[in-house]
Symmetry: D2
Subunit: 399 residues, 4 copies
Amino acid sequence: MPQVKPARPVARGRLFFANPGPTNIPDSVLLATARASMDFNDPAFLAVYDACVEGLKKVLKTKQHLFMYTASGHGAWEASLVNTLSSGDHVLIPETGHFSDSWAKMAKALGLRVTLLEADWRRGIEMARIREALAADTSHDIKAVCCVHNETAAGTRLPVEQVRAILDEVKHPALLMADTISSLGCFDFRMDEWGVDVCVGGSQKGLMLPTGFSFTGASEKAMAAHRASKHPRHYFDWTEMLARRQKSFVGTVPVTLFYGLQEALRLMLDEEGLDNVFSRHARLAKAVRACVNHWSGNNGPQLFCQNPERASDSVTAVLMPEGHDAEKVRKIALERFNVSTGGGLNKLGGKVFRIGHLGDLNEPMILGTLGAVEMALSLAGVPHAKGGVQAAMDSLASS
Amino acid sequence: MPQVKPARPVARGRLFFANPGPTNIPDSVLLATARASMDFNDPAFLAVYDACVEGLKKVLKTKQHLFMYTASGHGAWEASLVNTLSSGDHVLIPETGHFSDSWAKMAKALGLRVTLLEADWRRGIEMARIREALAADTSHDIKAVCCVHNETAAGTRLPVEQVRAILDEVKHPALLMADTISSLGCFDFRMDEWGVDVCVGGSQKGLMLPTGFSFTGASEKAMAAHRASKHPRHYFDWTEMLARRQKSFVGTVPVTLFYGLQEALRLMLDEEGLDNVFSRHARLAKAVRACVNHWSGNNGPQLFCQNPERASDSVTAVLMPEGHDAEKVRKIALERFNVSTGGGLNKLGGKVFRIGHLGDLNEPMILGTLGAVEMALSLAGVPHAKGGVQAAMDSLASS
Amino acid sequence: MPQVKPARPVARGRLFFANPGPTNIPDSVLLATARASMDFNDPAFLAVYDACVEGLKKVLKTKQHLFMYTASGHGAWEASLVNTLSSGDHVLIPETGHFSDSWAKMAKALGLRVTLLEADWRRGIEMARIREALAADTSHDIKAVCCVHNETAAGTRLPVEQVRAILDEVKHPALLMADTISSLGCFDFRMDEWGVDVCVGGSQKGLMLPTGFSFTGASEKAMAAHRASKHPRHYFDWTEMLARRQKSFVGTVPVTLFYGLQEALRLMLDEEGLDNVFSRHARLAKAVRACVNHWSGNNGPQLFCQNPERASDSVTAVLMPEGHDAEKVRKIALERFNVSTGGGLNKLGGKVFRIGHLGDLNEPMILGTLGAVEMALSLAGVPHAKGGVQAAMDSLASS
Amino acid sequence: MPQVKPARPVARGRLFFANPGPTNIPDSVLLATARASMDFNDPAFLAVYDACVEGLKKVLKTKQHLFMYTASGHGAWEASLVNTLSSGDHVLIPETGHFSDSWAKMAKALGLRVTLLEADWRRGIEMARIREALAADTSHDIKAVCCVHNETAAGTRLPVEQVRAILDEVKHPALLMADTISSLGCFDFRMDEWGVDVCVGGSQKGLMLPTGFSFTGASEKAMAAHRASKHPRHYFDWTEMLARRQKSFVGTVPVTLFYGLQEALRLMLDEEGLDNVFSRHARLAKAVRACVNHWSGNNGPQLFCQNPERASDSVTAVLMPEGHDAEKVRKIALERFNVSTGGGLNKLGGKVFRIGHLGDLNEPMILGTLGAVEMALSLAGVPHAKGGVQAAMDSLASS
């Protein structure tokens, strides 16, 4: 086994993980996963498993179906498509940023026809555009509308509930699919009330777990589509899953993660309460935006999201001033201050850095992160109005 | 979050996990996975990741390609098929037991034509049958031969290296695929030397990790087949992976498992040495078989595998005497003695129980397991010759 | 920092820890101690602390006083003496083995006058001898009787409740002190009912915690003696402790261990129940003795304890046949089979090895241990009747 | 076992532990302590133990003797006195604050005569006063000078090396004792070079371990004094220890902590380097003082330490403005922002709060702490100049 040399100058103290995902994992969750092996058919495990399924449905706010996969979020995306559609089917994807584009790319690779409704990443797509596209599809060629509830690359939200309203208004039968990977457990999502047919989530964001499993909620309507779907599939096949005791997972179940999930759900549902989880995310996100807005004063970095109504409560993308490299700032923050931020994805590479503020997070974690980033801006020679941390503190103290 | 009630009478002390998978995880590996989140593009992580790739290739004994997935072993099976074959392609699967049948079922679900070479699960397929089938395929309609190196359901081995010899002998160009999920890190496997084109492995068996990732080794020949393959795919797509820094994983990388893998590989390659790992498995397996053979004396349970040359060094299936229920024995062993064994799969349900002896295991763990099972046989009223544990001890002390 | 080389040939699989102390720690207890730092005056910690005090008193079966120390059991011994006695005071110590002698040695070092009532370590002291000594002390010169409830070196019990009966019968006012270090949480002890004035316990035995804190229960009578005591002391001083919020600990409180204690007490009191804990220890101890008795058949090793009524349920000392070295057996068991037993202490060095069977233990752990020891006897060329493990199994299956 | 209710409103995210002790423990150290039990005489443990002794001597910068105790720092204080002095001996203790007073109190309780050289806690004692006292003691009645290297209650340093210079200058033979509990591993200490005879340290501060063991370095001169000392002792007795394999610990060794110590020493000595550890502490301490100095501008809280040359690099005490309660600020910081600070000790109760900045700490941890405290000042209605965090950032960015 080759030796591994430290990749950077040693920085003591805890790594501040301000990446939009995976997220900070509470110690109690992490230790719950450090559990000796157990048979996934052992009644002692099944009792935990069943409780987790019930709890996770509460987070999704659904009473319908839940399918889980040993896979990352991309696997759950794939499951959402291969289980409900067939080769050549037409899907409509409102563009939000990198992740809507990735989903579109995947859909094409899987043999679907894709219409990507292009939009300005900074402002978020206008709902009227979606309405127009659906209203125009009088033959109901479109079989599914795939929405990214929270676009991690841009730090923006797409109001999925409004897409449902549009579908209902124009009486379009397409399935409504929502990627809730970086919104679930961060801000409100209501699968049943909003009429979402398939929603996609993963373990490593608002659920505060290591990467390792992902899942899809599925409505009765999605189940009907599933029964009609002819896509070749096995690993992600819902019918295959329904024949198993766990009603999920083709193959071995990632047992240890469920002990972690049990603890995470206890923290979210019992100890803090889902509404408090959401208000904490909102409070911390507001403080981050107050800080970035302050920095922007002196031709400094600014909020990438230009539409306050669409600003994400789980991640903030920060646009660098022209001629300054986001990667330089990230590198200083990481190497000098042990603060890990997210980079710009896709066409935003080098132009944007991202501050994740989701999961197990509190005020001093945010202030420490912002303080380190502000120092990194100084050290990188990036113009900015000093005092961003103070602006965040003012925001927090008044919340 | 619903309360979880204990599912069985309390049994203190450590659970003896004698299930053929997942396997016992060394404490040091388990704690290595209990690690705070880290960016999977962080140079500090990438250094660990690269070392793991190199180490894992040593375990596979390959210098060719390695693709990894956030998935269980079934996911890696699917990856092996969808990356190298196209709809309608013909695959030959020598029957070994439940897992050869499952792979066949999956292949059919994915649109392939499957010939399952039926065989006696207890004796293992005769190599002449494979030779015959391949020799008869003069048009080279068969594109791949899919072998289960270790059949976990039957406790038997299939000599993959002899399949390669046959392919060479009859000059058949089919890809040779091997499922090494429950053999890798338990007994010898040599991807390159044996000319295996695609081999499938998972984290949760001989690698002594939690369930969470799986992988395929791929030969240059497999890569050529991949470039010609037209199966729709994205999550498991090798080409998609090659465009990424990690050359694996579409989507988030399960970072914490790689810290575990680093430690597991250190234990296997540096501390114990792969050859010693294998001889330990052989020694413990021999003792288990000595025990079961002893039990059989009095019309008791016997080895399911009737062909000593095919006996597996990682799992032993035990066939109950007529009229006795394996599940009753398993339940007593679990509830009274805290020993978890594997049940019979598929048509062996109730007729067979299985003792896993793979991964992080030593003599007292085996003796404790066998002792508890022997007591459970007594308590369940199953006839058997007493003294199986003594037979195992005699075997071990003489090794 | 110097490199540490492995001290023995690698033995994979779990170390079987059959040493009489420290003991096996349940994973859930161990992980509960792996907890980030917390202020020992934080209300969140104090709530846990107070619950632990209450729970620990239930284990001691007392409603009187409890003082805790960051110290090992020897520290609690010292606390028992320096808090209640004064220089020159006379204590009576019935000899049980190494630990009664050590307590006597300590008492002398602390300036007390000690009468050690010599006795045969193998048979245990006759109660009549204690009665005689106390009856003879008509001037009540003896201020305390110090009893080792379970003599870890000899594997014997001293019936403390009978000492109380004697004191009452002869109307002797001496304090009754009991070392319960290796009995508490293993077999019954009743501080209040038995009229024990000071009892000494530690974290690392029946409480299933790492070494790190010890404690003394103290009766009202002991408190009165404390107020009269003139021994110079500070670190272990009860009066100093009573002035603190925690009513224990001079200096920093070992916070992390209390999170472990909380979990250990939950397992003992709520999940298994103290009576079940005791019956489990009794059942496992009986099996160990059945095994050793079987070995003895062929001029083999025998039970060191010759008095079945005094046999300990937490540790069994095994006497080697003349001319055979216990250390050789221990070394083989450790190096070849990863089983750690205890050595002979004091004058029993080389003549005795000890099997601890206390704490978090079950049937297969005992059988694995006994199996490895039996194989080690063979490999060391020690005569013995084979079949000891079978005898243990017969004992266990009939319990 | 009684249920434990949460003691405060739930605050998610990591607890910021800015208490001067115990300190933040690196995850890798914490997990290293979560280790299954092992015999403290097992060669595998002894190899780790011996390496730890060697490493710890490097931190102490000594080649002389080291004795360790299962005890907190107060136990090591007691060990320093009872091992080298006898009843009625005279010790000189320069007052520094709460901890010099505690040591004096302990010395008196142990039967020593104590001269406490009173001094202003805020300025630190003038060295001339110590010189005067020692020069006046021409009969060499004073047997030891006990110095607190870092006074945790006041946030001040006492230059121990200057005390040595005075002793040499006035040719006084008294032993020089130093309490390095909260300085060791934080700022420079050199036992041999500075001629310290007995130094006292503990696990839970700069060594970044849980509370659980403490130790004393001892010079040859201290060993000579030990041989002459007549204090009754056993648990802390050095002679008793020298007869044991470990040359420390009377009774069970706290094995798990040594696995933690091994990792902590690796981090300190190999990965970061002791000089870098010190400069990191200096840099962070300077930032904290810059922040507090800024707050003081508006009749706000100020540095308790009025003598910059004596300012501690491991803890900063902050004096509240007249009429404002430090506990109110602490409570808000804890309950609202999950930041734990230290309270005022002794006569400073309510007047002072303390920010610990020792151990496993970095820039964002400090900024998060200071930000939360500044918000708590606002919420508590305590006057202060806003912008303290900015001042800290300016200090850090320029370091």
